[in-house]
């Protein structure tokens, strides 16, 4: 269990992130973990005076979340990355790479997800 962790729901994201900004936190990054039941754990990491503060929510894949890149521009790249690699969509990104931040047209969709690995293995057979 991470320290300084607050579990939130989707409708709380923007309020909570605004609060972090107002309290002087620096945006560090976001982490995505795919669970056994194919839901996604999404962590937002913030830092103030070396103390890490984490927000966590669990969503279904293909769920559309509000982008926080209008609050923290630094989040724009990691949101694009997560959208491509895990399939969690972010609405209202400051820069939208349209699925081509990391991947190209020929790449598998959401390659970090479990089901995509299964598909690759079946094709190999």
């Amino acid at each position: 269990m991470l320290s300084n962790l607050t579990e939130i729901s989707v409708d709380m994201i923007l309020n909570q992130v605004h609060r972090k900004k107002d309290e002087g936190y620096r945006f560090v990054s976001m982490t995505t973990v795919e669970n056994e039941d194919l839901t996604i754990d999404l962590y937002y990491h913030f830092d103030r005076d070396y103390e890490i503060s984490n927000l966590k929510l669990t969503v279904n894949k293909e769920f559309e979340l509000p982008s926080i890149s209008k609050i923290y521009l630094a989040a724009v790249f990691v949101e694009n990355e997560i959208q491509e690699l895990f399939g969690v969509k972010f609405d209202g990104k400051a820069i939208n790479y349209g699925g081509h931040f990391i991947l190209s047209d020929d790449d598998l969709e959401n390659p970090m997800c479990r089901n995509q690995i299964v598909i690759e293995q079946l094709e190999d057979k």
């Binding site: 982490t31 973990v33 984490n54 724009v76 790479y97």
Partner: protein, 358 residues
């Protein structure tokens, strides 16, 4: 005057790794810049889920050549936190010595590349000649010039003999002397000052808002260095972050040069205080739990998140490298700059794209 879009990279003489910038230009001035990556994405985080957690040490060392030792260190610290492993004192100091050798080698590589980016070939050669000495001592002590695989979960699996310690001290003294000779050029030479001073200014509040880390942040007056938190043996050593306030490319250069001296001091102090004893704490079992660890790589803060499930295979290894955190600063620094300054500005973030893409 209309706008022109110039694709800068992914192949360009100044870029050691493939990064593309779509530069929207009005005449010779950059109006907008959008970075694009995706040329060297290897899926290493996914691969880490399919390897034994011990073998992942060698995998994360290959995320980046320049920071290989510190990627392994961060990963090992994350697993040690999950498994509550306390490493021996001697291993803590050894970790500092090799980490600081790696920092010197990284900063000298960068200083040379920067000189090359504005055509100062003799400065580039002087600095890289000095860097060779660090790479030689890494090979002599750890068996490889770049991938010094010294860290393991529970400590280190290499030690420094008294003779090797003497050689390390001799080498860092030679590098110190070399850098003192080129310091005057970096600080006072007209060409260097002209190409770097007041170029790419990143004010403190913008650097903080953009999540900038490492020498980039410290050159903008932000006192932020994870070594102050005392991981490994840094808590037992004299350490103050190097900070400059101008926020321009020259300040970023000075920070890295001063950090070379600082690393030399840290190595001397760590060798002076190196305790006797074991270098490794044996452990049994598999990790179960999660940990988030951050430490200071040459380019800045690196973050590792590890989630383990009690088996040999991990559920997740997530890493965010310093270049990923410093990319947004380009969105601020490039607009308004001239095309001739673009190579310098890209280099001042010390981009490592294979790190960033993983």
């Amino acid at each position: 005057m209309g706008k022109t879009i110039i694709p800068f990279g992914p192949q360009h003489p100044v870029l050691p790794e493939p990064l593309q910038l779509k530069l929207v230009m009005r005449d010779e001035i950059v109006v907008e810049a959008i970075p694009a990556i995706g040329y060297v994405h290897r899926g290493l985080e996914k691969l880490a889920e399919q390897k034994d957690f011990m073998k992942n040490i060698y995998l994360v060392e290959r995320v980046c050549g320049i920071c290989s030792n510190m990627h392994a260190l961060t990963y090992c610290m994350a697993i040690e936190e999950i498994m509550s492993i306390e490493i021996p004192d001697r291993a803590r100091f050894l970790r500092v010595i090799w980490a600081e050798l790696h920092r010197i080698h990284s900063h000298l590589l960068w200083l040379g590349l920067l000189a090359d980016s504005f055509g100062f070939e003799s400065l580039f050669m002087q600095i890289w000649r000095s860097r060779e000495k660090i790479m030689d001592i890494m090979e002599a002590t750890a068996g490889h010039r770049i991938f010094i695989s010294t860290n393991t979960i529970g400590g280190t699996h290499k030690d420094l003999s008294p003779e090797q310690q003497t050689e390390v001290l001799k080498t860092v003294q030679l590098v110190y002397d070399d850098m003192k000779a080129v310091e005057k050029v970096i600080y006072n030479d007209y060409t260097v000052a002209h190409r770097l001073t007041d170029v790419g200014i990143l004010p403190t509040e913008i650097a903080y808002a953009l999540g900038t880390v490492g020498p980039m942040a410290r050159a903008s007056g932000i006192v932020f260095d994870h070594r102050t938190q005392g991981y490994a043996a840094y808590g037992d050593l004299e350490f103050e972050p190097v900070v400059e306030t101008a926020g321009d490319s020259h300040a970023r250069t000075k920070v890295r040069l001063r950090e070379v001296y600082q690393s030399i001091e840290l190595i001397r102090e760590a060798i002076g205080k190196l305790p006797e004893g074991d270098i490794f704490t044996p452990f049994k079992g598999n990790p179960n739990g999660e940990a988030l660890v951050r430490l200071e790589q040459p380019r800045g803060e690196v973050l590792y998140y590890v989630r383990a499930n009690g088996t040999k295979l991990l559920d997740r290894v997530r890493l965010r490298t310093p270049t990923f955190a410093n990319l947004p600063s380009l969105l601020h620094m490039l607009p308004g700059s001239s095309l001739a300054d673009v190579p310098v500005l890209i280099l001042t973030i010390d981009p490592c794209i294979s790190c960033t893409e993983r």
